[in-house]
């Protein structure tokens, strides 16, 4: 596409000084060449995360959330993905680092709970042996001690009779049990950065509450930074300090959890909040999804990528059709990428959006 790179320069302060934040992602782009064209899964994403804080990432299914987290962990390396931008973790830049070096950081420095339990669990090895192995990479302990730790972790994530089931193979576990085994594996080394991609969608709400408690414990005990990706806005409301909303490979809104639930300013965020069925409200006859289909990431719409689906497109036309809106601070710590005037957005939220939630 013919978008000038300079446009992005204003998105992040591009100073070359080493960052102060624990995790600092700057203008990250991850593109995949395919037969149909270049898929721009992540296209100029920037955010920071401090130790002891939890960042919730929500957004369109297919908007690049998982690709971003795999990118931070260096798991696209060696594949045909094209990656640019910077990922600073605890003062070290990872995009340019050697795959070997990044691999050594995984487990203890950073760990991930994958959306796809099968990619983290090998089908031919026993569940317990896999946790033991992950643990021993970063801890000099005997096999016996590691096994004890594995059983302990399985118990803490709520696997019944962990000392028996530690010797099961992944296919003998239910969907939720596999998910929990993976959580046990990710938490076994007390990672400093935990990325949790849909950690609890496969779990019933009582186990979910238990896992969320476990993540909070990890955080208060080790002051870990947590990035939690989920479609469940209830989980985000409960766990996250800050929220980042993604659409078509870009951030469209970021702010404190309180701010995003009580004073959201981006029309896509409004669409999300209006779509969900809520147990704390009367049952609606029909849900209200955002109109239209998710954008193609090969031919991303010109201007504001959300404009073909935006109810308020006319109010921001013609800029929304031609000019990509950049993330701009609207109040301290709250950034929005939309051409509407902040005052106009606040009026629409108060008059047209919030009353219907």
């Amino acid at each position: 596409m013919n978008r000038p790179v300079e446009e992005w320069a204003s998105l992040v302060p591009m100073e070359d000084d080493a960052p102060t934040a624990f995790l600092d992602v700057r203008d990250l782009r991850i593109h995949f060449p395919t037969d149909d064209g270049l898929v721009k899964s992540v296209d100029g994403l920037s955010f920071t995360l401090e130790r002891g804080r939890t960042l919730g990432i929500v957004g369109e299914s297919g908007s690049g959330k998982s690709v971003t987290s795999l990118g931070i962990l260096g798991l696209h390396k060696g594949q045909h993905a094209r990656i640019s931008g910077q990922v600073w973790l605890d003062g070290e830049e990872l995009v340019g680092a050697s795959p070997e070096h990044v691999r050594r950081l995984r487990g203890k420095k950073m760990a991930m709970i994958f959306q796809d339990p099968l990619s983290a669990m090998h089908p031919f090895y026993k569940v317990g042996d896999q946790i033991v192995e992950a643990y021993r990479v970063h801890n000099e302990v005997s096999k016996k001690q590691a096994r004890k730790h594995a059983i302990d972790m399985l118990g803490r994530v709520g696997i019944p009779q962990p000392s028996e089931r530690v010797d099961d193979y992944p296919h003998q576990f239910s969907g939720g049990m596999r998910q929990r085994a993976m959580i046990a594996m990710a938490l076994s080394c007390d990672p400093e950065l935990l990325i949790a991609d849909e950690p609890t969608t496969a779990l019933d709400v009582t186990v979910q509450a238990q896992i969320l408690d476990l993540v909070r414990e990890l955080q208060s005990e080790f002051n870990s930074a947590v990035m939690v990706i989920t479609h469940d806005l209830g989980v985000v409301a409960e766990l996250a300090d800050d929220i980042l909303v993604m659409y078509a490979g870009k951030a469209v809104e970021q702010g404190s959890a309180r701010e995003l639930f009580t004073a959201a300013e981006h029309p896509y965020t409004w669409g999300l909040l209006s779509s969900m069925p809520r147990l704390d409200r009367d049952r609606q006859d029909r849900l209200v999804p955002i109109a239209g289909s998710p954008p193609s990431l090969i031919n991303v719409p010109e201007g504001c990528a959300f404009h073909p689906r935006c109810r308020f497109c006319e109010l921001s036309a013609p800029r929304s059709l031609t000019e990509v809106p950049v993330m701009t601070e609207t109040s301290p710590g709250h950034r929005v990428a939309c051409h509407l005037e902040p005052a106009e957005r606040r009026r629409l939220w108060a008059e047209e959006v919030q009353p219907l939630l």
Partner: protein, 358 residues
Amino acid sequence: MTISDVSPRPADAGAPRPPLLEVTGLTKHFPITRGVLRRQIGAVKAVDGIDFTVAAGETLGLVGESGCGKTTTGRMLTRLEEPTGGRIVFDGRDITHLSVARMRPLRRDVQMVFQDPYSSLNPRHTVGTIVGAPYRLQSVKTEHGTKRAVQDLLERVGLSPEHYNRYPHEFSGGQRQRIGIARALALRPKLIVADEPVSALDVSIQAQVINLLEDLQDEFGLTYVVIAHDLSVVRHISDRVAVMYLGHIVEIGPRQAVYEKPQHPYTSALLSAVPVPDVTRRDNRERIRLQGDPPSPIDPPPACPFHTRCWKAQEVCRTVTPPLVEFAPGQRAACHFPENAPDGPYEPGTDSIVAPAS
């Protein structure tokens, strides 16, 4: 096969409809074997004798603890898993032990959307091949060719026709889930068992897919059994809800009754643990935190299966199995000390929908 081979659909709409699906005493025990001789030393009692019916055109929501046997139940209903005991009657026919060959014509009528969108799609096939497979397997002719039909389906589930030639690994979790839904819808089945059909989707696409499922139900009279952990979604789509715990149905009833006046303590615990999208209520919520570990289905507790974690448990709970008793019209629960029935069990009168368990 041609369309005329499909068993005739009952025509007498006026007569009281027999349920489309009738399940009695359904059981699945997975053997646990040890040693080279693979001697059986025990069993995982994944599903342990459950009864329920689903009327044509109705949606039954199935919720419960992770590992309580929901997927196994779904797999038995769609005959992907052989039951150890009990009976499944679909559309008047006993299909409990039908062979693969005898089941084939029924495959058209009974479809499953799988919980795990990663392992249920063949990585070596394109999306077009995957979604078009049911047409080929059943030799069904479509008006404008299979490709057009598949592309239409892709659009209906919120994917784009340009995805036709792509492979599953190129899709996000939510996109894969929609591929699975498109495949299940291809032949317009009578019954769809959907295992977590929307949990991988963002709330907007989730709303689209739920509306789509509801439209198809209105249009074609589809019947759904929907397994889900998201209790707000279940409330939205279900006519009736069944709550499972450790291989048993502990409560079943009309949506409103179960959500507003749950009888079983486990149902109450579930409802209290739902995360609410309201930051202002983060710190002052009352949640029932279940104590203790979930029991093992290998060695389930005697009598009431919930007694090891129930805050109301008494001696009788450990010795006498509570029967499923009707507390309100159509609402049954298995508990000696129900949550919302101070006056004892409901006496079924003329307004009774389901007879109480004898």
